[in-house]
């Protein structure tokens, strides 16, 4: 079959599109892959207005919090070291949010803007002690959105 000029042009266009797809697809997939967690994994599930974890006690060392927000509201994930009970953290003047600068509260790290269905991993080197994980958006903590993790 004789290749006309137009047919040859279409063939070239098809080859170029396929080549572009061959480069673009692996790059896109690679960006979605998350780094492999190191340390002790703790799966954390955030929802309105609860924090659930699959391990209440973990060994000291690196702990990887694999956080997933089930929503529907956007949440924060904050880890503080404290000896206080999880529902007795000091509040700010508005009476609705935790005062993280209060004595006895040691803010370790936090992840903001976890929207519905977001996944995030937070790795921390934790020394033995009691840790409280909560969301500090207005009314969320007081609505019961906190949990305790003990590190030995």
């Amino acid at each position: 079959m004789a290749w006309t000029r137009a047919r040859r042009r279409w063939a070239w266009a098809l080859v170029l599109v396929l080549a572009a797809l061959a480069v673009a697809v692996p790059l896109t997939v690679a960006r979605r892959q998350e780094p492999a967690p190191t340390g002790t994994p703790v799966n954390v599930l955030l929802e309105d207005f609860k924090v659930r974890e699959d391990a209440a006690v973990v060994p000291a060392g690196t702990v990887s919090f694999r956080i997933r927000n089930q929503g529907p509201t956007t949440h924060q994930f904050i880890v503080v070291r404290t000896d206080r009970a999880p529902d007795k953290l000091p509040l700010q003047r508005d009476g609705l949010t935790v005062n993280e600068e209060a004595p006895g509260i040691d803010l370790l790290d936090q992840v903001d803007g976890l929207d519905i269905d977001d996944h995030r991993t937070l790795s921390l080197r934790l020394a033995p002690g009691t840790y409280v994980m909560y969301c500090n958006l207005e009314g969320h903590y007081l609505g019961g959105m906190h949990a305790t993790l003990t590190v030995r």
Partner: protein, 645 residues
């Protein structure tokens, strides 16, 4: 290797397509662009237009969608913000009522539910600009937004229930503090969820608008590129067209001249160098009249001046133009007045060199003339011989036969004279003195075979200039013969006259079958514009001859329908040809049929310089056969056997 027939057919089809602009498929659907004139868009521009249309539609559509989305988003944000205000008011109202103050938590509770219901399910809300107007909000479609709004609604329900408990139990309720805290927490959570929903909507709107802007910019850039490409292609097409036009003008054998309103040459095509041996630059700015032969100059100036008064009109004329080598070139010119066109602002002359045709026509005319002259001499000798025989003959039967021969010879002589007229050689018989008009008419009638059917009446006692007498007699003879040939032998042909304006009009009226409008128009055209000697002239030759003879002396001849059938030929003799022969009688007495022509040789004959003489002895009482049709040439009819023998 020989090609198969089908391959040839395909190749021919492809060639035809190429000749028709080379367009195929979608390109065929695209009409020509008027701005490109004869250049078809074809394969090069065919794809640009549909793409451009799609692009513009896409840009307009996206803009409309973006504007609608912006408006909708602003409304949603406004409605969500109002919902937060309502929550705060409800909480305050509940606490005020519990503390014994005046408030209406029931109404504010209803207000709290309103916005979220509208955002979730769609509906109308009060317009932000006020004035009592309401605007429609579409139901939220994004699943994230819907989930947040549903959570919002659950929290509102819980808030209302908590408020109800507080309102019901008051401060005395043991759970008062817990309920107040719960109310504040729920209020804060609602605020947070509302904020979250608004943020989500805003983010989505921003992303959507950003996408729309990017797409809009992309489409705009693409549109600009396409417009640029189209502009370049159009420019190239225009340049090609201009080059094609230049090539046509430069290589044309015709001259294209643009005359400015003052008669000077504003533009001269390069082909003038080939035709007249002159450079265009030498002619620009000079008057056209300088090139025209002095004999033709007045006519050319008159034609151009007349044309210049009518924008858009076209006229044609012939003349001779001066060649650089001193010779004269015969040209035919078609002139169009484009003074109204700002791109031309003048008269455009398309001039064709017809010198060779003119020379050819002249040589044909000379040939015709030579042949006719030889025949004329022979016919004249034949007529002299017949005359002698007639004089000496006493047997009535033999005399009648001689008369018939005499008439046939006379007709032959007129045919020969027709050829001389058509040859274009001006070798007229001169009449030194004025001739009475009546005698000219009688001489014309005497020329025809059916003279006995002709009734001449009311010819004024005028004289006709000598130089026109022979031609007028010939002209009248042709018209009278036409009238007798194409009417029934039993009918009469009337020849009469009367003053008309400053001239005198002769009417030749028959009672025949007449002519159709088209035939009449054609005959009148031939009479007004006699053609040069060519093949087309063989039809209606008589009318051509009449037209030429009339043109020589400024005589106007026109055919008209008779109201009772038949045709009237009007011959308007101009005053310049006429003279008075004493008192003008009011109307000459009618002449009886059959005796209109003098039986003796007309006295006029002695004054002819050469050639033709009106016949003296005319046979009486003979009739032509009925005419089957008219509008053609009597000679042709005679050759066909009717109406002549």
């Amino acid at each position: 290797m020989p090609r198969s027939p089908s391959a040839d057919v395909r190749a021919a089809s492809a060639t035809q397509r190429k000749a028709a602009g080379g367009r195929s498929g979608f390109g065929r659907l695209i009409p020509r662009l008027p701005i490109l004139g004869d250049l078809r868009l074809g394969r090069r521009l065919g794809w640009v237009i549909p793409v451009f249309i799609v692009l513009v539609t896409a840009i307009v559509g996206y803009n409309a969608r973006a504007i609608d989305q912006q408006r909708g988003s602003a409304l949603v944000v406004y409605t969500a913000a109002r919902q937060r205000a309502f929550v705060e008011r409800y909480t305050t109202d509940v606490l005020l009522v519990v503390d014994g103050f005046q408030a209406d938590p029931e109404e504010s509770g209803e207000d709290v539910r309103g916005p979220v219901d509208v955002l979730l399910d769609g509906g109308s809300v009060r317009a932000p600009q006020g004035g009592g107007q309401r605007v429609e909000i579409a139901p939220a479609s994004d699943w994230r937004v819907r989930r947040k709004l549903e959570q919002d609604r659950r929290l509102i329900d819980e808030l209302i229930r908590t408020g109800d408990r507080l309102l019901k139990g008051g401060r005395a309720d043991p759970d008062y503090d817990a309920n107040v805290t719960q109310l504040r927490v729920l209020s804060a959570q609602l605020s947070s969820v509302s904020n979250d929903a608004v943020r989500e909507i805003t983010q989505q709107t921003e992303a959507s608008l950003s996408r729309l802007v990017r797409i809009g910019i992309g489409l705009g850039v693409l549109g600009a590129l396409l417009a640029l490409a189209m502009g370049l292609l159009l420019r190239r097409a225009g340049a090609e067209q201009a080059a094609q036009f230049r090539s046509l003008v430069n290589n044309s054998s015709d001259l294209i001249t643009v005359l400015s309103p003052d008669g000077t040459i504003a533009y001269q095509s390069p082909s003038v160098e080939r035709v007249l041996g002159r450079r265009p630059a030498d002619l620009v700015g000079t008057a056209l009249g300088n090139l025209v032969h002095p004999d033709d100059r007045d006519q050319v100036i008159m034609s151009v001046t007349e044309l210049a008064e009518t924008p858009g009109a076209t006229a044609s004329f012939g003349c001779r133009l001066h060649h650089e080598d001193g010779s004269w070139r015969h040209v035919e010119s078609i002139c169009t007045n484009l003074a109204d066109d700002p791109r031309v602002n003048g008269l455009v002359l398309n001039i064709r060199d017809v010198t060779e045709q003119a020379a050819l026509r002249k040589s044909i005319g000379d040939l015709l003339h030579n042949l006719a002259r030889r025949s004329q001499g022979l016919v004249d000798r034949q007529l002299e011989l017949i005359d002698e025989l007639e004089r000496n003959e006493v047997d009535p039967d033999r005399l009648d036969e001689l008369f018939r021969m005499d008439h046939l010879a006379t007709r032959m002589r007129r045919n020969v004279e027709n050829l001389i007229v058509l040859s274009g050689v001006d070798q007229r018989r001169r009449w030194s003195e004025s001739v009475p008009l009546r005698e000219v008419v009688e001489a014309a009638v005497g020329e025809i075979e059916d003279y006995s059917r002709v009734l001449v009446t009311g010819i004024y006692d005028l004289t006709l200039a000598g130089q026109a007498a022979s031609d007028v007699a010939h002209l009248l003879a042709e018209l009278v013969e036409n009238a007798t040939s194409f009417s029934s032998p039993s009918t009469r042909v009337d020849v009469s006259g009367g003053p008309a304006g400053t001239g005198y009009v002769l009417e030749i009226e028959d009672h025949g079958i007449g002519m159709s409008d088209a035939e009449l128009a054609e005959a009148n055209k031939r009479l007004a514009e006699p053609l040069a000697a060519d093949v087309a002239m063989s039809r209606m030759m008589g009318f051509h001859v009449v037209g030429r003879l009339a043109a020589r002396h400024g005589i106007r001849v026109q055919l008209r329908h008779c109201w009772f059938g038949g045709v009237t030929a009007l011959v308007l003799l101009p005053a310049a040809l006429l003279g008075s022969a004493g008192e003008r009688p009011p109307m000459a007495p009618p002449m009886p049929a059959g005796v209109m022509v003098s039986p003796e040789p007309l006295l006029l004959a002695s004054s002819w310089e050469s050639g033709w003489q009106p016949r003296a002895h005319l046979p009486l009482g003979r009739h032509a056969a009925p005419a089957p049709h008219r509008g053609g040439d009597p000679d042709a009819a005679a050759e066909a056997g009717e109406p002549f023998e």
